[in-house]
């Protein structure tokens, strides 16, 4: 053997490992130079479309805004820049669970932002809870939020549940029917995915309660491209209102195909996609009068300023539904950290009980749920304005009946 015997090498290796292990806590105890914020989001796969419109741009925008201002402010007035740790969950439940475990235990980030989608927020919820991170579940529509806040006491649900949206829709239609603008018959179609089925199930009950008759009720598989048969049958059903709980590709296709069929229901309500800025770009003047989920209070100057800022920084306008709420939620996190520091327990408590000034105005969560969502909107004068709840300041009046397609030419 040469100078280095095996034993010497093993000893040296052991010493290095021991030194590294001993050194680690010292390094961690040193003055921190940044706040680590991590997230796992669908950058590829089936969910990339939704995450790429509502969630990722707002996470990026917020981090940029905070860092441009010198970083996150702490209670002592000092500022620390945000350092982002970002993973792609590849639209897989198993990946999202593991990525969040990695953020919590390997990267030891200070806060974790929620993934996109109802299913993924539920998959992630036990992990957030186990490691003591507050979970601000934004893009998750669920009626079970009151149950979930009990099960996972660190979870916050910001997007309402299916029945909130359908109740608002039925309210608007009932109002119009009472005025005699439309009859009490509706045609409903829905996409056979969790979202579409949740909404149509809630809508059936709401319509029945409001004395509406559902004269046409169909569910179509995701990926359907030809809606002509459904449109024709709905047209012959005698219903004045056509409601589709649809996904973005379907929403765009339905808009085109109702025009081709020259089907002119007095109420045209479509699902996800109606709120996208690209919807206006694709349909222009013809979008006018079409209703959908969500909506934005365009009379609020702060919201409009946010929209302008979003477009300037990211080169694309935000949607008229979850985007502004996503940004406002991050502002709440930022403000909570400013008030109580980086302790996750304190931040959770502050988020649950505090009142926050955000782009959408003053926000106070009720039982860790955000209930001041806009539930229904309509394209009016080139903007997707909020209609419901009608009694809230900032709500616009629905304009019904929708003008026929031909008139828009």
């Amino acid at each position: 053997m040469g100078i280095y015997s095996r034993r010497t090498i093993m000893f040296a290796l052991g010493a290095v490992v021991a030194a590294a292990g001993a050194g680690a806590p010292d390094a961690a105890a040193q003055e921190r130079s940044s706040v680590k914020i991590g997230y796992a989001i669908s950058k590829s796969g089936a969910n990339a479309g939704g995450a790429g419109i509502t969630t990722i741009p707002n996470y990026k925008l917020w981090v940029k805004d905070v860092n441009d201002a010198g970083g996150l402010e702490l209670p002592d007035g000092s500022r620390l820049p945000i350092e982002v740790v970002e993973y792609d969950d590849r639209s897989s439940s198993e990946e999202v669970v593991r990525s969040i475990e990695r953020l919590a235990t390997q990267d030891e980030v200070d806060f974790i932002l929620a993934p996109w989608g109802t299913g993924f927020n539920l998959a992630a919820a036990p992990i957030f809870d186990r490691f003591g991170y507050p979970q601000l579940a934004i893009s998750a529509v669920t009626d079970k939020a009151p149950e979930f806040v009990k099960r996972w006491p660190r979870s916050f649900w910001m997007h309402g549940g299916g029945s909130d949206y359908t109740a608002a829709l039925v309210d608007i239609l009932a109002g119009a029917a009472d005025e005699g603008t439309i009859n009490r018959k509706v045609a409903v179609i829905s996409v056979a995915e969790g979202f579409g089925i949740d909404l149509v199930t809630a809508a059936r009950a709401d319509f029945e309660e409001a004395d509406f008759e559902i004269v046409y009720d169909r569910t179509y598989p995701p990926g359907t491209t030809d809606f002509t048969p459904m449109i024709n049958e709905a047209a012959q059903s005698g219903a004045d209102s056509f409601v589709a709980f649809s996904y973005p590709p379907d929403t765009f296709a339905l808009t085109q195909q109702t025009q081709v069929a020259d089907y002119n229901p007095k109420v045209l309500f479509l699902g996800v996609g109606t709120q996208f800025p690209s919807y206006l770009a694709a349909n222009g003047e013809k979008a006018t009068g079409i209703m959908g989920l969500g909506g934005t209070d365009v009379s609020n100057p702060k919201v409009m300023e946010y929209r302008k800022h979003h477009e300037e920084v990211l080169g694309a306008a935000p949607d008229y539904w979850g985007s502004v709420v996503t940004y406002a939620t991050l502002q709440m996190l930022q403000e909570a950290i400013r008030r109580v520091g980086l302790d996750r327990g304190d931040v959770t408590e502050e988020l649950a009980t505090g009142t926050f000034d955000t782009v959408i105005g003053e926000v106070k969560l009720q039982d860790r749920q955000f209930r001041d969502m806009w539930w229904a909107g309509q394209w009016q004068d080139g903007q997707f304005v909020a209609l419901a709840p009608a009694d809230r300041p900032g709500a616009s009046k629905p304009r019904l009946p929708k003008q026929p397609w031909a008139a828009a030419n």
Binding site: E86, T118, L122, I127, E193
Partner: protein, 319 residues
């Protein structure tokens, strides 16, 4: 004989060590081991059938999804071990029905059919949920920790590799080798081709169903688009091909490096993951269609004398 005993002892020892490992890691380490063991089991189970018969199956996710969905449906009503049995039984029945109907197909027709099968099962489940139960998402609130899932998967992986080993030394293994080389010859030699293929397909599918069932409690929420994710079929296939589908340890040696690579890629290149993955798939099929093990063997043997190789399972994919 002595060597066999030694091998078994080594196998048991390794298994015990692997079962002990998660106690030394945090949640992320357990999650990593769990995902890894899941894919090792999937790839090994896939290779049980597809390796020797050279039928490239893309039905992995159909069975995986059936397993996961069964757990989601029954999690509130039955005790967990019974749910696993029910899931295995359903997987077995579906495999028998499907196998009887389709194992006469060969080559690309079988590939297309199995690809369609996953979609068919997904649409059937969706149709049932929409029209009968009126709810599409299901919740799984089972108090099963990551470690427990890992141990179950580890046991299943051991059983799968054990079955592969046993088949390799049995009559059915010999029959399979003949079928893989030439079905006509096999038929003339008096082998009941349909029965052998069906048995293997059913065993492989049942194991895959169990993997789905065991992993499901980790996701809390299940809906068809989540559990019938075609990526699972493709990853399983490419892992088995990389390692070498007609060797006992091939799928394992393909699954481990690929899984770790995917993990590394999605952590360090979240924006380029899909592109790199695509290039990798192409590289695997072109550079080592027979798998890593076969390539290593070839390099090993080259100095001595070149041995004619079998037509590999990967060739079918290339063509």
């Amino acid at each position: 004989m002595f060597r066999t005993v030694l091998a078994v002892l080594f196998f048991v020892g390794a298994l015990a060590a692997l079962a002990w490992v998660p106690t030394q890691f945090g949640a992320y380490g357990v999650g990593l081991l769990l995902g890894l063991t899941g894919y090792v089991t999937l790839a090994s189970a896939w290779a049980l059938f597809s390796g020797p018969t050279r039928y490239v199956s893309l039905a992995t996710v159909a069975f995986f999804g059936i397993g996961a969905y069964t757990v989601a449906v029954l999690s509130e009503t039955l005790p967990y071990p019974v749910i696993l049995l029910v899931a295995a039984a359903i997987g077995l029945c579906v495999a028998l029905v499907v196998g009887l109907a389709t194992l006469r197909l060969a080559g690309v027709y079988f590939v297309i059919f199995t690809f369609g099968l996953a979609e068919l099962v997904r649409q059937l489940v969706t149709w049932y949920e929409v029209n009968v139960t009126g709810t599409l998402g299901r919740y799984i609130f089972l108090p099963i920790s990551g470690e427990q899932i890992y141990w179950q998967l580890l046991a299943l992986a051991a059983v799968t590799i054990g079955i592969g080993w046993a088949i390799g030394r049995s009559r059915i293994g010999l029959a399979l080798k003949v079928i893989g080389d030439d079905e006509v010859v096999a038929a003339h030699a008096g082998i009941n081709i349909a029965r052998v293929k069906l048995t293997l397909f059913a065993v492989s599918a049942t194991i895959i169903t169990l993997v789905g069932a065991i992993q499901a409690p980790r996701w809390t929420y299940v809906e068809p688009s989540i559990v019938f994710n075609q990526t699972i079929s493709f990853l399983t296939l490419i892992m088995a091909l990389l390692g070498g589908a007609n060797r006992l340890w091939g799928p394992l040696l393909g699954a481990i490096p690929l899984f770790l690579l995917f993990e590394w890629l999605s952590a360090n290149f979240p924006n380029h993951y899909s592109i790199i993955l695509g290039l990798l798939f192409i590289a695997i099929v072109f550079v080592m269609p027979q798998g890593v093990l076969a390539m290593v063997e070839k390099l090993w043997k080259r100095p001595a004398r070149s041995v004619p190789e079998n037509v590999p399972v990967g060739k079918e994919v290339v063509q």
